[in-house]
Symmetry: C2
């Protein structure tokens, strides 16, 4: 039973260590011995905290997604105009990369494969949910005239989704470029293009 204070429990520490390794090397490339070594314990001791390696990545992903989609729901429910909501959705995505880079990386790298197992069927559901969010925002943008009428909305959705999340491959929290600055530059390119006006 995790307490709700700021104190990280041992369990949380171990999950954070596992998340870093899963993100760096991949789920399959990371052994339970790797995780235990990084935590300064022996591999058998991990099983006092978790059922299996699979349940570790499961908890990492589901916890992150619960938080992320609550934030998307907030944006969807707001009464701002379409363009503002799109900007907010982009900014919160970059903020998520900043706060949870390992979780985003794991999701990006492993979701397709893990999603083939029944246990991780919720990954596909979340994916559909995310699609709904973006398609709703983009369609509203086109209908209200905020976005170009000749856009292929589905293609644009893929474009926006991929481009936002793929930043996790090179973005490092605390580096020279803040996530807010990246989101701003990204929105400039996305909305107005790179061509000289």
């Amino acid at each position: 039973m995790p307490d709700s204070t700021a104190t990280a429990t041992r369990r949380d520490e171990l999950l954070a260590i596992a998340a870093r390794l899963f993100a760096e090397k991949g789920f399959k490339n990371t052994t339970v011995r790797d995780i235990a070594d990084a935590a300064g314990i022996l591999s058998g001791s991990l099983y006092h905290h978790f059922d299996s390696k699979e349940s570790m990545v499961d908890e990492i992903l589901s916890t992150f997604q619960t938080e992320l989609f609550a934030a998307y729901d907030d944006v969807l429910a707001s009464d701002a105009d379409a363009r503002t909501k799109i900007e907010r959705a982009v900014r919160l995505s970059f903020a998520a990369i900043d706060r949870h880079p390992d979780e985003v990386a794991i999701f990006q790298n492993e979701a397709d494969y893990l999603g083939t197992f029944p246990r991780f069927a919720y990954l596909a559901e979340r994916n559909a949910q995310s699609r709904n969010v973006w398609m709703t925002l983009l369609t509203e943008g086109v209908e209200t005239g905020a976005l170009r009428a000749d856009l292929d909305v589905t293609l644009t959705y893929r474009f926006v989704r991929d481009t936002v999340w793929v930043a996790v491959r090179w973005y490092r929290p605390g580096g020279g470029l803040s996530h807010e600055a990246i989101a701003a530059q990204y929105l400039t390119i996305l909305l107005d293009g790179i061509s000289h006006a």
Copy 2:
């Protein structure tokens, strides 16, 4: 000794089968037994053709990269203006995804991890080479006034690179959307943005 006719050798067939599995499930998630099963032979028989599983992915990646970078060099060496060269580089990248989706997927998913081993050091070199190509084109674009003067060229490079290659995640050759059509839409968004003018 591979002959230079159009006839696929057994070796080439096996590499194509391995590439498909590596792309679908990941290198580590694919066993030599998986590859052999898909080829209708037993795992031990693979070792008549290849030293190891590692040497298979090595050959897949290096062969693909040799072809890809020859194409980039062509663009760089041409005397078209900056904008035209950028458009050509984008189009040839989508064409590469169309012709070699498995190879692109493997490179996208595995290069970071494989690159940590000496044997795959050339992956980092190719990465630097690719960076040079795009930075040269984008810088020339800004200097000649084809692109906006306020662009962060490094960030734009990452943006273009990531967005082009990440399409391998959803593009399927022979599907409803041709790679030429995707490249055209992509260039429209990249150059002019999605915002209503």
